[in-house]
């Protein structure tokens, strides 16, 4: 039993260690770490579906968007909502939940959306699924950008309580790890991974690939929705650009560099890319870095992150973990 849950325990320990270190650091480091924890939830949510099924999805940011806007509307001050969004339906305007109560609701909202979108995933795979999920992401982006009554269109929503901290984000990430682990240890998880390895062989053994995929999709959407809600409370303001193709690519970058076929890969990739992105952000902003002074170079971060992804795909296609999970053995050989 301990062997089976080892990846979850070790990933949790890893996240706790990084967060603990960050708590000793200055406020900017803490903020970056909070962002890392949020991205952890989003990439774990995406992993539950993409990692186990092997079907690439660009659409998961749709669930993040639903969770983010849903949470924002549930947790903002009613007075502020009246001012910003006068056309919002009355009950929604008066609704005022705390973050902890709003996040599960956000997850459920995303889950409902995923059920609506599930024919996409169930009927298509391979390239058609990729393109269709991309098309979905773009059309949802257009809707968010124009639905003035609810999302305030391209102006975006401001005044969301930006109260997410390391302490309040951490339990949710740990919960996401538990959910992802529980799914991959479940019999549905095993069957779905069998279909990832060989869909035809799996189907011939009586595995109903579509059924397993829809189970994974629903769970994954829920986790992504929760991550979206956390994202809203991390940012404090939401514009359509926050939940666009950029976020999709960042999530996939983390998953692929870490290793898209394992839970440990999702967690390690998130930590690795977050740290790298933060270092690059500081280089990009320029200024004094101890002995050297740098001029601002916008674009450096994007170039290096893109190179990281490219080199991973070319030289180590399995990512850092190569699809393996963290285990006790690693600790034993490590010491």
């Amino acid at each position: 039993m301990t062997r089976r849950i080892a990846p979850g325990l070790l990933c949790t320990l890893l996240v706790l260690a990084v967060s603990g270190l960050a708590l000793l650091g200055p406020e900017t480091t803490q903020r970056t770490t909070t962002q890392m924890l949020v991205m952890g939830v989003i990439s774990l949510g995406t992993y539950v579906f993409v990692g186990n099924s092997g079907v690439l999805s660009f659409g998961h940011v749709v669930f993040v968007a639903v969770g983010a806007y849903g949470t924002a509307l549930m947790t903002m001050e009613p007075a502020l909502k009246r001012a910003l969004l006068p056309d919002l339906p009355g009950p929604l305007t008066d609704l005022h939940l705390g973050l902890a109560a709003a996040l599960p609701v956000a997850g459920l909202l995303a889950l409902v959306v995923s059920v609506v979108c599930s024919p996409l995933v169930l009927r298509l795979d391979g390239m058609a699924a990729g393109i269709a999920s991309l098309a979905l992401l773009i059309s949802v982006g257009v809707v968010i950008g124009n639905w003035d009554q609810v999302t305030r269109g391209s102006q975006g929503i401001v005044g969301i309580p930006a109260d997410l901290s390391i302490g309040s984000a951490l339990p949710w990430l740990v919960a996401a790890i538990v959910v992802a682990l529980a799914y991959q240890l479940s019999s549905s998880g095993f069957r779905l991974r069998a279909s990832r390895e060989d869909a035809v062989a799996a189907a011939s053994l009586g595995i109903r690939v579509r059924r397993e995929r829809s189970i994974a999709l629903v769970i994954s959407a829920f986790v992504c929705g929760v991550g979206g809600g956390m994202y809203a409370h991390f940012l404090g303001a939401l514009t359509p650009g926050d939940v666009s193709l950029r976020l999709t690519l960042l999530t996939l970058l983390m998953l692929i560099v870490g290793g898209i076929r394992s839970l440990s890969g999702a967690v390690i990739g998130t930590i690795f890319i977050s740290v790298l992105a933060e270092v690059l952000r500081r280089i990009e902003a320029g200024g004094d870095l101890g002995p050297v002074t740098l001029a601002p170079h916008p674009g450096v971060q994007q170039v290096i992150l893109a190179l990281t992804l490219l080199l991973t795909l070319l030289l180590r296609p399995g990512g850092i973990t190569r699809g393996r999970e963290l285990g006790w053995k690693l600790l034993r050989t490590g010491t």
């Binding site: 996409l120 990729g130 979905l136 059309s139 674009g299 190179l307």
Partner: protein, 290 residues
């Protein structure tokens, strides 16, 4: 109505150039090249660099630069992942797209830049009561010539025939002695040339350059391909014209409140088409290979 038709024809030609560049690579090696948009970006900025030269020279140089970029892309990034899964190749093209975009951002900055390449093309001429831009005529004309040229190349030259064979069945074509590297490199070269021409026309139409300018053309290209039928070259061109017509008509006839949602409607339409015809309107369903 006739004015809309002219617009649709001109827009459709531009879309067809972009879609064919992407479809060529997809049909041969199953690659969805997201970085095709960045080839257009590179072409746009190359045009900015050369725009003081005579137009013909500048256009020639732009084509040379973009073709070189496309060949470089193939050699450094796509050759190593050739034969990998479609998803891996797609992510590779995403990485390349981000990389080039970041490079342009680093060199040129994020601010939009404007470039005037129109010259005499800006004027309109009067054809039977219709005002037709010379640019529109140029786009439609050049695209027609390029499409005819590509058709001739694919039908009448040995390399073109090899490319068609590779598009039919890449493994079999290799087994019969077709040199894969040469065929794929040629495809990238042609794709780059089409991207360069598209870039010139696109910049001539809009007059502005940004590092992320390649995104919407490449999406349009994908949509056109899906609409026409995955893996079929000429279907992609047809898809491009259909998409342009749809887009112009929706723009003209959608009631005011819905016009903002035009793109959402177009993309949702794509999803619906994919759901019912996963291989596109004119595509052939392929069985599962075990």
């Amino acid at each position: 109505m006739a004015q809309n038709l002219v617009n649709a024809l001109s827009l459709g030609s531009l879309y067809a150039l972009i879609a064919l560049g992407i479809a060529l690579l997809f049909s041969i090696m199953g690659l969805i090249n997201f970085a095709h948009g960045e080839l257009i970006t590179v072409g746009g900025y190359a045009l900015l660099a050369f725009h003081r030269l005579p137009f013909a020279v500048a256009a020639g140089l732009v084509v040379a630069v973009v073709v070189a970029a496309a060949l470089l892309m193939e050699r450094l990034a796509f050759r190593p992942v050739r034969g990998a899964s479609g998803e891996t190749m797609l992510m590779t093209s995403f990485a390349l797209s981000l990389l080039i975009q970041g490079g342009v951002l680093l060199k040129e900055g994020a601010d939009p830049q404007s470039v005037d390449v129109l010259g005499g093309l800006g004027a309109s001429i009067d054809v039977g009561g219709l005002s037709v831009g010379r640019l529109d005529l140029a786009i439609v004309g050049v695209t027609a010539v390029l499409l005819a040229g590509l058709a001739w190349f694919l039908r009448a030259t040995p390399l073109g025939v090899q490319m068609r064979a590779a598009a039919e069945d890449f493994t079999m074509a290799r087994a019969l002695g077709i040199r894969a590297d040469r065929v794929v490199a040629t495809a990238f070269g042609v794709s780059g040339a089409f991207a360069a021409v598209a870039a010139v026309f696109l910049v001539a139409r809009t007059g502005t350059l940004t590092p992320s300018m390649g995104l919407s053309p490449v999406l349009v290209g994908f949509v056109a391909i899906v609409l026409g039928g995955l893996g079929r070259l000429w279907a992609a061109a047809i898809g491009a014209y259909v998409l342009a017509a749809l887009s112009v008509m929706l723009q003209a006839y959608l009631p005011g409140g819905l016009a903002a949602y035009r793109d959402a409607l177009v993309y949702l339409g794509i999803i619906v088409i994919l759901l019912f015809r996963p291989h596109g309107i004119a595509g052939r369903p392929g069985g599962v290979r075990v």
